[in-house]
Symmetry: C2
Subunit: 432 residues, 2 copies
């Protein structure tokens, strides 16, 4: 017995017990393995933008490839200014550069926020895969508000009110995490719901982390932030990963209200002892992205048009076949509810959403991510589908041949997104 191996379990932080690598990344790696064996895989698992990074932003990275200095912990001032201006223009919210922090992905910033903020977190289920594991790593408590298909898998004012009535009295600030347009649901909160949730949060000393990373991918281009109704208590999360197609670049942003600046300052302390600052060339390039000139606006316009078209077609097909899902409002996900097939599924010996997704992947090559990864009950048969398995550069080019204000023709998806439609057919077929 080797002395250096005998005590592995005791040598690992017990908070990590039971945690595995993030499921979204795991499914991506698994899909690649299957593809390497020659299997046709419909890659609806990972939530990555299908579109290339806009050319002007790539060019800005080339121009800044020799930037070598450590940048300020909170981020390059020019970039913080661009992000603040972005939120002022896009969200009509009063943010200035000093209240912005740049991180290596908004995921890292969410982690820092959870680490510095001394309270349990409140989330809605289903929710994005990483909020809960992050809380577990730190040993934080989590209050889960479960939503249903009828709630459109989002927090409703009624659900929030019910939760508040039952929770004990709190002697300190709490933190609610919202995400809209949502991952995994593709749905957004209506403006009257935002207003009511804002009022309830204010009354109950709850601050909100408003994860709006898909905000610019609201298919209508009409994203509204809850900060409109709760400016003093809302931290807005954004970044390059989704609307700018640059997930692999790793750049996220938080914008704070002035009176929560004390949280930002504490996050910056932890940042200075961990990641230090975000990669300098990437930050310089990101300035170009957040300044949002005409090229970016056109790119966003086309992205939304394409995603709306394919998302709605998929939802239509699935609903017709009895797989319940809501028409998408933004982003590139559908959350699928297989409850109509409960007996079929059980008759195949399947007990959990993970087993279901594994069976579907093995039988059909369709990779979707089990609802349990999003903190849904494991025995609810749900899954997230990302309708992004197409060649984003080719599809963008094709969309650009069509006059800007004209709708994409009905044949468009059949020609350019055929694999997505085929994957949906395979999925439907599996249940029949």
């Amino acid at each position: 017995m080797n002395a250096l191996t005998w005590n592995q379990n005791e040598s690992i932080n017990p908070n990590l017990n039971g945690l595995e690598q993030s499921d979204t990344l795991a499914i991506n790696e698994r899909s690649k393995e299957l593809m390497a064996t020659g299997k046709k895989v419909y890659r609806f698992g990972l939530g990555q933008s299908p579109f290339p990074v806009p050319r002007c932003v790539v060019e800005a990275l080339r121009l800044n490839a020799d930037q070598k200095d450590y940048l300020p912990v909170k981020g390059l001032l020019q970039l913080r200014e661009a992000v603040a201006e972005f939120h002022r223009k896009k969200d009509n919210i009063n943010v200035t550069a000093e209240h912005v922090i740049i991180g290596p992905g908004s995921k890292e910033l969410v982690f820092l926020l959870q680490l510095v903020f001394n309270s349990d977190i409140i989330i809605t289920s289903p929710c994005w895969v990483s909020y809960v594991p992050q809380a577990k790593i730190i040993g934080k408590g989590i209050d889960v508000i479960h939503s249903s298909f009828e709630d459109k898998w989002q927090l409703t004012p009624a659900l929030f009110r019910g939760y508040l009535k039952n929770r004990g009295k709190k002697d300190r600030l709490s933190l609610l995490i919202l995400n809209y347009p949502g991952n995994p649901d593709g749905v957004s909160l209506a403006e009257d719901a935002l207003k009511e949730i804002a009022a309830l949060a204010r009354e109950n000393n709850i601050i909100i982390l408003s994860d709006e990373i898909y905000g610019q991918l609201n298919h209508s281009g009409q994203h509204v932030s809850i900060a409109k109704y709760y400016p003093e208590g809302t931290i807005i999360s954004s970044g390059l990963s989704k609307w700018c197609g640059a997930g692999g670049w790793r750049l996220g942003t938080f914008a704070f209200p002035k009176n929560l600046q004390w949280i930002l300052e504490k996050m910056a302390i932890v940042a200075s002892e961990t990641y230090t600052s975000v990669s300098a060339p990437i930050q310089f390039a990101a300035v170009k992205a957040f300044k949002c000139g005409g090229e970016i606006e056109e790119y966003l316009w086309q992205s939304r048009k394409i995603l709306a078209k394919i998302g709605n077609e998929c939802a239509g097909k699935l609903n017709n076949a009895g797989i319940k899902t809501h028409a998408p409002v933004g982003g590139f996900y559908l959350f699928l509810d297989f409850s109509n097939f409960f007996e079929t599924i059980q008759s195949r010996g399947i007990k959990t959403s993970k087993e279901l997704c594994t069976a579907i992947l093995n039988d059909t090559g369709v990779a979707v991510l089990q609802g349990s990864s999003f903190n849904c009950r494991a025995d609810l048969f749900t899954a997230r589908m990302a309708y992004i398995d197409f060649d984003g550069a080719r599809v963008l080019a094709a969309a650009r041949t069509i006059p800007v204000h004209q709708a994409l023709p009905d044949t468009f998806t059949k020609i350019y997104c055929s694999k997505v439609l085929e994957g949906v057919d395979q999925l439907i077929h599996w249940f029949q």
Copy 2:
């Protein structure tokens, strides 16, 4: 009173009490502020390589500016292969790609290691600024072994033996952090010391994080890793920041022995829930750096030659004036011991190394970083000087006009590094 501000203290993780932004970064930001007011500042505070990123590596970043995909959590396979090969060639150590993990700076990887590894850490004082604050953020215990000028500010076998004799019996693995060539000391561990420390660590179930980020900047080019004597218990830390001049790029690497792979796997889980993966264009460019072709080797050769020359001249001047420091072995730091001036300093009403460095900065414009930032006792008058305030691109170009195996002429530093010499004179003058 605003409800959202009333509870700030209770709303912050108590582990953060008393922590400020990392001192090295803080002094950089402070120096910039002073310069903005028109003051001449000798920037010996921040530990940043003075040299530009090698041209072939910048070019590789340009070529890969359109890489947009999320890369694997542990890092791009090509890069992990290049890092493994780098350690095999440079350190003569048997590492393979699967035992390498890439992070956004080695600082972040050190943090993850501290987070996942369930034991107190053992460090030598003085030590790099971030080991201890990281432990505090997580709420970890720290065992400090204090070294002195006579120990060359490094861990000696005698000090280690003394520590081990006094510590209680441990029922699990412990973690010792070593850093050589050292920050803040610029000294390295001799091979016989490495051998003895390795044996003691092995006997006592202590694994070693061997921070060798300055390894390739050993001025003789003859860096030896403790992994040579303790392969099964040593994790080697490296990265682009120092030897490749790319601190602002944020890319660090850890190489594990096979039988500590279980720690790497746990770090990857936390990575997947925090930073996800390192920026894709940066990773692709780093492959070029770690492959270490002729251009890189020539760059390293020149870097070492220049740093050795200027470092030794500074040490000579300082010692002549009674400011004690050791001749540098690697990296770009001198650790200054002002104990000969104890009475002069006290007579000026100065009680701590921080007050001393503030007075020196205000009076002379010389920015050096107080010993207390490196976990030295505050009332020991010590400081770290980074002898890097020169135009690295210009100095490299000048060095390249001199035949490779010829020494740099005596006039070289006077012409090309005059500000460093001037700053040292200013510093000496302050004590007289």
